[in-house]
Structures are given as C-alpha cells and as structure tokens.
C-alpha cells in the first residue's frame, strides 16, 4: 500500500523518532517517581509486619492483602476503619451538599432580587472568602463546644460550610444566563422559586457537579478540624484517624494495617478525581479563577 510514503512529515514541534521515545521515557520516569510513595504504601499493605521491620522491605506486593485489609476494616487500631470511612463520607457529603445548597440559594437571591441589605450581605459573604478555618481555630472551637457540638457531625460540617467560593461561582454563572429567560418566566406568571427550580437548577447541572467534586475532596481531606473536635474515637474521620494509629512512645507501629488504612483513605477521592476528570479539571480551574 506504500504506507511509508503517506506518513506525515516529521514535525518540528511535536516530537518523533528518538526524541519522541526520549520524551516518553522522561514522562514515565517522572510518573514513576511521583507514584512511588503510593506504590510503596500499597506494597506495605500486602506484606507482614516482620517483612517491614527488618529493612529493606520488599518492593513487590506480598500475599497478605485480604488479611491486612480485613484487619484494618473490621478491627483497626483504636476503632474499625469502616467507622472512620463512614464518618468521613458523612462529613465530605455534608460539606459538599451543604455548601452547594446554601450557595445556590444566596447567589440566586443576590442576582435575581433587589432587596434591602443586598449589598451588605454581598460583602458579608465576600469577606468570608478570605479566612481558612486554620486561622480561627480556637474561637471556632469554643463556639462548637458552646453549642455542645463536639463529637457530632454538625460540629464537623458547619464551620467548614462558611465560605464564599461556591456562592461566587454560582453568582458568576447566573450572570451569564440570558435575561430573556427570567423575562419569559415573569410574563408567564411563574413564581421566582418555580423559575429557580425549573430553569436555573437544570442549567447549573454541570457547575454543580464540578463543584461537588472539588468540595467532596476538600471535605474528605480535612485534618486539623476533625482532630480538634472529635475526641471520641467513634467520631474520628479516616484522614485524621491514621495519625492516631501510631503508638505513643517507643512501640513499633502496625505498618501493614496503617498502610492499608492509608490506601483506603485515598480510594474515594482518587476514584472521584479519575472518573470525573473532565469535570474535576473544569471545577478546579473555575474555582481558582
């Protein structure tokens, strides 16, 4: 067929031949280096404690996968890991859904209404954009303690909902919705809430999904806040609970179980990021703009 003749002219910009291989090799080396810590954690979660404590540990998986994961999930160190997974799930979902709901509502009000105090509320929300919970931990802790919300899901979730990023994203998006739609809804005598439910919500679907991915990971990966307010091991989240699995003093840590727990802790966010890659990247780029 003379295929060789039809080959594209070697590019000056995209690489071919040796340079292409070199690029692939460099890429693979880069990916391997970046991936190594995760690989090692996985290997450690499939071998026995003696194999780890007499270094060097093997670099290929062993045969104790089920044993270690079963031990982690159902007995753990302080508390079974499935309890911590459940707590993390409730916290991450609570933060993501809670934030999305209150932000959708307030953005809708600020964009589609003129009401007394509108500018004031707008700025009030705007200022919260600036302050991560890490900065105001002591007084926020006191508020939660005052409400008797230590060791509760409410205490884990509410302080982290108070942020304006989502509100601003929705506000920006609502501004791009053509006025004709609201006009038509008004002419047809639809109530504002009808308009919100039938027009705004369906149109915001992609934005909501993208934001959900970002917020879920944000919530799942919280460390300092759960560390402060969950003194009861039954309420520990998995990301903060791992540190608690290390023995105090000179005892040797149960590495296979700890590493199995680390792998379990990263699975949900990794699945979400990989499976919703397009949405995730979009959400990331949007929310940082």
């Amino acid at each position: 067929m003379g295929e060789e003749k039809h080959e594209p002219i070697p590019g000056m910009v995209e690489k071919r031949g040796r340079a292409l291989w070199l690029t692939h090799v460099l890429m693979i080396v880069g990916v391997l280096i970046v991936f190594f810590p995760i690989w090692l954690a996985f290997v450690a979660s499939t071998v026995t404690q003696p194999e780890i404590v007499s270094p060097p540990m093997p670099l290929l998986p062993g045969g104790h996968f089920w044993e270690n994961y079963k031990k982690a999930l159902f007995s753990g160190v302080n508390v079974p890991v499935y309890t911590m997974l459940f707590n993390s799930l409730v916290m991450a979902l609570g933060i993501a859904i809670g934030k999305i709901i209150i932000s959708l509502l307030s953005a809708f009000a600020i964009v589609y209404f003129r009401f007394p105090g509108r500018i004031f509320f707008f700025w009030m929300i705007f200022i919260t954009l600036m302050l991560p919970v890490e900065v105001r931990i002591v007084p926020t802790y006191e508020v939660i303690a005052g409400f008797g919300m230590l060791n509760s899901y409410g205490g884990l979730i509410f302080p982290l909902i108070a942020s304006a990023t989502a509100t601003f994203l929705f506000r920006q998006f609502f501004m791009t919705i053509p006025d004709e739609l609201a006009e038509a809804a008004r002419v047809d005598g639809a109530s504002p809430m009808r308009f919100f439910v039938d027009i705004i919500l369906p149109m915001s679907r992609t934005n909501i999904a993208a934001l959900f991915v970002i917020l879920f990971i944000y919530g799942w990966n919280q460390y300092l806040w759960p560390l402060l307010i969950t003194t009861d091991v039954e309420m520990n989240t998995i990301v903060m609970g791992i540190k608690q699995m290390f023995p105090s003093g000179d005892d040797t840590a149960d590495w296979p179980v700890i590493m199995a727990t680390s792998i379990l802790a990263m699975i949900p966010p990794v699945i979400i990021v990989i499976s919703m890659q397009k949405l995730f990247i979009r959400g990331l780029v949007d929310s940082e703009k």
């Binding site: 970046v34 307030s106 009000a109 589609y112 302050l131 931990i137 802790y141 990989i274």
Partner: protein, 293 residues
C-alpha cells in the same frame, strides 16, 4: 454587573440568603471577632479572669524569638514547597505537551497525588524515610548517609517540604498543561521554521506566555504552604526538632491547644488573618490584570 430583569419582593430573597448569613455569622464572624477580642487580653493561670493588655500580646509576639523564628521557618518552607512543586510540574507539562498521543494517560496517572490528603501524604513520606523501617532511609544508609529527620533540622525541613510539595505537583501540572495547550501552535511553528531550537522556543516564547499562569500558581502555592500543610507537619515532625518545622499555622495550634496560651494564640490568629487578607488582595489584583494579558 447587574441583572436588568429581577423579581419583586424582599421577604423571599431575605429567606434565601438567611442560611448562608447565619452560618457565616455564627462560624465565621463571631469567631473572628472573638480572636480579635481575645488577642487584647491575657487570661490568668487559672482561667478565672482575664486582664486587658491592649496590644501587649502583639508586642510580645513581635519581640519573641520563637515567633520570629516561626515566621522565618514559614517563609523558607513556603518558598521551598512552591519551588519543589512547580519546577517538576512545569517540566512534566512541557514533556506531555510535546506528545500527540498518550498525554491523557500520563495526566490521569499524575492526577492521583492531588486526591491524597496532606496528612496521608505525610504518613506515606514518613514511612519511606522512617529511621527504623524506611526504605529510602535504609538505602541511604547503605550508601553511607545516615538519615535522621528526628534529630536533624535540615533533614526534617527537607522531608516536610517534599511531602507537602508532592501532591501539589499534580495540581500545578494540570494548570501548566492547560496553559501550554493554549499557546498558539502557529507561533511555535513559525519560530521552528525560523530555526529556533526547542529550548530557545521554550525560553523566548512559551515561558513568557506562561507567566500569568506561573504567577497565579506562585500565589496559590504560597497560600497552600501557609495554611493547608498542617497535616503534613503534624504527622511527620509535630513541629520539631527544636521547632525547626513549626510554621505559623502550626504554632497557633501548638500555643492555643497544646500550650493553652489563648491570648497569644488569638494574637497569632489576627496576624495570620492580616496575612491571608494581603495574599487574597494580591491574588485578586492579579486576576484582574490577567484579563488584560
């Protein structure tokens, strides 16, 4: 920018903003106000009464050598984290951009660490460099290097920097890669036709075109290193050895919860608050500028 078409009524919109306002007021404005208020007092040792000291807590902090050291540590730490996470990310993005096929696969693999919480990243790196069982520290030992981040301040700093920067490589890669894909191919090709080598094209065309992204990432990564790396520090070094890795956010925690020095912790919160404010302003100023590029 305002909508021309709006709905009538004021009760409904007030009800709609109500949840967010309540949450912000209770969990944001009240605690922030408390932080400012508490920063003006010193509680007595038994916590029964407090004494007004005005700006005394701040004065004390600014002359306190530990606090100053923590400022310096934070500066060094965040610069190193930014460097360690941005340079490899840019390199990988440039490599991926040269590929026609397969870039998507590499991207999928490189995204992973972003999803890993800083605290978990801390545990993974601690495991590799653990003085007793760590694989990397063991091989270093075979090479004749005695790794001990528990005692050596430089090694401790190096370890928390790498563990903090690791997940950010993914993040920075995504932004650099997107920006590289947006560089007009025609410009690059024109330069190539004129005989500019790959590196020449990179430094004279691509890098300047990337500068908005680079600057944006610089700010975002510094903010990250300042405020979101608590988990890494807490899992690997707990601020040690001898406070060598006690960054400002860690010190707020250590003084407020461990040391129970509420006045000082509150004053530190206020200082951090001002810092975040300044960084946010820089970020916003820049976002506005970015539009004109």
């Amino acid at each position: 920018m305002e909508k021309l078409v709006t709905f009538k009524g004021w009760l409904l919109p007030l009800a709609l903003v109500f949840p967010q306002i309540v949450v912000s007021a209770v969990f944001f404005f009240y605690p922030a106000g408390q932080a400012i208020w508490q920063s003006l007092f010193i509680p007595d040792p038994f916590g029964l009464s407090t004494k007004f000291v005005g700006l005394g807590n701040f004065e004390f902090l600014l002359t306190d050598e530990f606090y100053r050291a923590s400022f310096l540590t934070t500066g060094v730490f965040s610069l190193l984290v930014t460097l360690v996470s941005m340079v490899p990310a840019l390199f990988l993005a440039v490599m991926a951009d040269r590929l026609i096929k397969g870039a998507g696969v590499y991207r999928t693999l490189l995204i992973w660490p972003y999803a890993v919480a800083p605290a978990i990243a801390g545990v993974l790196w601690l495991f590799m460099f653990n003085t007793r069982v760590g694989v990397v520290s063991w091989y270093l030992g075979q090479l004749g290097y005695d790794w001990n981040h528990v005692l050596n301040e430089t090694e401790a700093m190096g370890l928390v920097v790498v563990a903090s920067g690791w997940g950010r490589v993914s993040y920075n890669f995504l932004f650099f890669f997107a920006a590289l894909q947006a560089v007009p191919r025609s410009v690059i090709e024109a330069a190539a036709i004129d005989g500019a080598s790959f590196w020449r094209r990179f430094f004279t065309i691509v890098l300047p075109l990337l500068s908005p992204t680079t600057f944006f990432l610089l700010v975002v990564n510094i903010v990250y290193a300042f405020f979101e790396t608590f988990g890494v520090i807490h899992t690997i070094t707990t601020g040690g050895p001898q406070q060598a890795t006690t960054i400002l956010v860690y010190k707020v925690f250590a003084d407020g919860f461990v040391g129970q020095d509420l006045g000082s912790s509150a004053a530190q919160s206020v200082i951090l608050l001002l810092l975040v404010g300044a960084l946010t302003v820089v970020q916003f100023k820049f976002v506005e500028k970015r539009v004109h590029y």
